[in-house]
Symmetry: C2
Subunit: 648 residues, 2 copies
């Protein structure tokens, strides 16, 4: 085999590993991006961009994956993983299209699918797949971004007419930033505080529920009582018509309550199979996890797209001279440039694999008979989805920023796409759960995962809860991950003298950090037990510690997947390259957190220096594979056909 | 005095310290921003935005500062510091206007002023102040961003007609990203390789020189041989008409060579008061330092603008509940939010003060009789300007990114300005010297500052040079900074047991790090002395080390200014608050680099933990001053009059 054919063989093998279970779906979407030139544009008005994206969505209906997000018995074709992977792959094209498709089929469709019952499936599913029914997902309010339980919009049941009255009682109750609300959506899945009274009862708040509310008539005019407005220009995503909605006592039929988890009888009697308001709320929210999975996955794809642009540029662009030669050096031959891009490429591999696992788990849970699914499995998926969403969107934003800077002036020209990617990706760290909030959520689950109802507690209740648990915090065993246990058993327990390239050592370093952080966080919270404890102050003082528990958990989980995947690769050279990537991933994580490792004596000074040197050495080792590594992402050629890559 | 009047008194005192020597100029520009609503817009076409900004420039001519950038004897009013500070202050308004004004009066005007002689001053200065002469600064080429010495455009002298022929010999010789070149500029200051032959000589390349080349006729059409094109949409700065220029054997009169440092006689004889081509090149480049100072300063202003938006938002926006209270907590009461914003506010103070000092030094040097200025002083200013440009633009980009994220969904709406600021600031890390290149430059000067001609060496020549110096690298004494020496003498030499809030201890920690890094970098480079040394490999291996030398130098210099400024503040409460800000600045720098400090045993584990705790405590200490700290920036009210701050 020639060197060249070996490289292309390696590219194909790496790509197949990254593409994973739904590789055929990825290829269908790649072809669509290529054929329809679904790349972001800088030169369209908001109106034209929105119209364009809606047209692109219509072109995708025939590809089949919009139907895959829905069960066969509801009118779909039942392949959740395929549906998520298809939207993910749009991250290799235009994120405006990805978001608008995600809102329609994932969020609006997901609410109907997962919170609705037969009557809603019959009425809406077919139409929303085909885009005859355009919808939006009206959860966030101006006054309440992340705190969904405190939404102000009300849905008051009126037994005399058998209707709900949807109302925005204050300016801060306005639904805000809602994709589709400015222009195209005819319906909204509205989250509102349900108020009802059974016969002889006082009207009672039953917590947040979801309702289908018609917004516009066939001409696109607001229906009576509905006032929509346009968010206008944003940092990016110009093809998404984000808007605002105010409701002035809008009446909807009782049947429009998505009533899978709670119902209101004609006489106003409230009923639910789940007694606790809190638990019901979180159960409903949990079914919407698909949005979070999709957002993390698409961001990851966009991050790979950005890295592919920057690495390709660094492989043709020369700068300054080599002594004794006539040619300037390739950017990629500079150590600082390698350090800028290659550790991010390594992280992109690690997170892509972890993301695939989350998609597969989501697929399994949402394809099963809902009654047979273990709630604990669901909750673990939610935590993992939150973790990977936070980590993957953060990585993508960082990678695209770095890619832009690494391309210098060329990277600032819209024709080279990086500025557009940068503007589009920015909000991914905020929507579908602000990363800071999600990271805390991960930490809280981590600290309280024994307790079934820890997620029902507010911040301070939760601090008290943790404070009162006298346990030692041991990491949850990932039983399914036999390879991890074997490697841990197989590695030297003394992290100082063990081989730092051994996956067991690497796992141990990340696990030990997480365990240390988790148990010390718990210890600090025990202060809340003291008689005159200021629980608020305890919470404030430990908040940054908690964030670190969350991020260390995210990184550990990602490494476990990476190790697991490598364990299943037979081809020697492919495995060797993946190991180098994993090593760079781990070394650069350790380097970023060397202060902590040294401060808590988890590594020695000598080892710390070896880690820093190791990052440099691994960058050098991976330099010859730079092209292969980004080719394996499989970014469609049309997306890399930009002036800076044509001329250098 | 009431608490409120004390706060407003404190605000005024802090503002006066930040505003510094050219406070009246700042106020004039602030008023202009307020009166003319000079804030960035999202809703204009490229064409309309460019026209708007040109109009705004015309409105500014009457304010007087465009004339201040030029010596009285050249047709200006001679107040360089005022001119720079005025452009800086536009960073509180619209960066498109700042950049376009900076190109016209700073870069194009600066080339005429500093590289030209009487004939150029007479011909252009008055007109370029009044905008009768619109110019651009054509240095960068498509193939050569940072490596100005290798530009490909040629200027060949033709003795038979007494003209230069300006020519772009290859596609990569195209002038690129040139502000003003797409539309408005009638003239360009073109940097090109001068080729000439005296009588009986062979044509010889004399290195890069600068020429005034007319680009367009009165109708705005390209002149014969000139082909301009438009860079179109960019990541931001929509009001700046960046473009490209190709020259096809364009003839210009011999007199259009800006001939202060070199001339070509009618017969083609080349002459220069500076013999070395390299030294002449760097001398010419050095006179253009004003652009670098201005870019750093404006970026700093924009960063403060972004922080003011985010801190104000955090002081009205509530999120989640406090146990036992009805109200949700203010965002600013969350420790994670404080940690996100307050260390950046502290850095913004530190860099603003350092920036003021650079402006004052620039003013002093460029106001003096050029023949009396010590070249060493000029070079020190160049290094410092490079250092502060790199540090300040990096800080600004980071601050605006963080500010955007800290405002969640609201931060992504263009109406709240943060996305526009984010798009505009992005390229500041690249233009007027890519930050990575500048940081290396700083490090190189640091390592070789004894040697007069170190800057004339290419990368590898320089490695060899350092390798051959057998010196110990001691930091350059900042003799003028007596207070620093006193504080050092006054502080405990044992950094472990000394008081970490003592400025002497803080100075020592940053100085020791810089000295350590500098001397170890030199030691590593000595490997290049070995007989079969691969100098290229030595350079590659030490490049990241070198970057760290540069950043540690930047941070040390900034701290020295901060300490110096505080030493001159008499008012007790003002001084106390500034000390807290300085402490947070230092603690957060140390925290970001704890790995290094521990690894090299410059702090102990116990001290490291104290630093981490200290950042939290200082955030808590400064929380009550959050409003005051950003009010003192003096961002014009119109810039903070955004929907998210009106409604919360």
């Amino acid at each position: 085999m020639t060197a060249e054919s070996t490289q292309s063989d390696l590219t194909a093998r790496l790509r197949s590993i990254l593409d994973g279970q739904w590789a055929p779906t990825r290829d269908i979407v790649r072809k669509q991006i290529e054929d329809q030139q679904l790349v972001p544009r800088a030169d369209l008005s908001l109106d034209d961009y929105r119209t364009r994206v809606l047209g692109q969505m219509k072109d995708m209906v025939g590809l089949g994956f919009p139907a895959q997000g829905f069960r066969t018995e509801h009118g779909g074709t039942g392949d959740v993983g395929g549906a998520v992977t298809a939207i993910e792959t749009l991250g290799y094209g235009d994120l405006s299209l990805m978001v608008k498709a995600g809102v329609q089929w994932g969020l609006f469709g997901g609410a109907i699918e997962n919170l609705g019952t037969r009557r809603h499936h019959d009425e809406y599913v077919r139409g929303l797949i085909d885009l005859d029914v355009l919808g939006c997902f009206a959860m966030t309010e101006t006054g309440h971004g992340s705190n969904v339980q405190e939404l102000e919009t009300t849905a008051t049941y009126l037994p005399e007419t058998g209707e709900f009255e949807i109302h925005s009682p204050t300016p801060s109750a306005r639904k805000d930033y809602i994709g589709g609300a400015a222009q195209h959506a005819r319906y909204a899945a509205v989250f509102a505080q349900l108020v009802t009274a059974g016969p002889g009862e006082e009207p009672t708040g039953r917590g947040v529920h979801c309702f289908v509310v018609p917004l516009r008539d066939a001409d696109g005019s607001d229906l009576p009582g509905v006032t929509t407005s346009d968010c206008g220009y944003k940092g990016g995503l110009p093809g998404v018509d984000n808007g605002r909605i105010m409701f002035d006592r809008v009446r909807i039929p009782r049947e429009n309550l998505l009533n899978r988890y709670a119902d209101v009888a004609e006489d106003g009697t409230y009923s639910s199979p789940i007694e606790s308001d809190n638990r019901r709320f979180f159960t409903m929210l949990g079914t919407l996890v698909r949005g979070r999975v999709t957002v993390g996955a698409s961001a990851g794809a966009a991050g790979r797209f950005g890295l592919a642009l920057a690495v390709n540029y660094a492989l043709i662009r020369r700068q300054f001279e080599v002594a004794g030669g006539d040619d300037e050096l390739l950017l990629m031959d500079y150590r600082t440039h390698q350090r800028r891009l290659l550790p991010l490429v390594a992280r992109a591999y690690a997170f892509a694999l972890a993301q695939n696992e989350v998609t597969a788990e989501l697929h399994e849970i949402q394809s099963a008979d809902p009654d047979t699914v273990d709630p604990d499995t669901v909750r673990k998926l939610e935590t993992k989805a939150a973790a990977i969403k936070a980590g993957h969107t953060e990585l993508a934003a960082r990678a695209i920023n770095e890619a832009r800077e690494a391309c210098g002036g060329a990277g600032y020209m819209s024709e080279n796409l990086l500025p557009l990617l940068r503007g589009d990706i920015d909000v991914f760290t905020t929507f579908e759960g602000d990363n800071l909030i999600l990271t805390q959520l991960v930490a809280k689950q981590q600290l309280g995962y024994y307790a079934d109802d820890v997620r029902e507690l507010d911040a301070l209740g939760w601090v008290r809860f943790v404070a009162n648990m006298a346990k030692n915090y041991a990491l949850e065993k990932t039983a399914a991950r036999q390879v991890v246990q074997t490697l841990l058993d197989d590695s030297d327990e003394d992290p100082e003298n063990s081989d730092l390239t051994h996956p067991g050592t690497q796992l141990r370093l990340l696990r030990n950090r997480e365990e240390h952080l988790t148990s010390t966080a718990a210890a600090r919270m025990r202060r809340a037990q003291e008689p005159d404890a200021d629980v608020q102050a305890v919470f404030t003082d430990t908040q940054d510690h908690l964030i670190k528990v969350g991020t260390s958990h995210i990184e550990r989980v990602v490494l476990e997947v990476f190790v697991d995947v490598i364990g299943r690769v037979d081809h020697r050279e492919t495995r060797d390259v993946l190991k180098k990537i994993r090593n760079l991933f781990v070394y650069s994580l350790l380097e970023d957190d060397l202060g902590w490792y040294l401060m808590h004596r988890h590594v020695s000074v000598e080892r710390a220096k070896a880690i820093r040197r190791g990052v440099n050495d691994l960058c050098g080792d991976l330099r010859p594979y730079a092209q292969t590594l980004v080719d394996a992402f499989g970014v469609p050629p049309v997306c890399l056909d930009v002036p800076m890559l044509r001329h250098g």
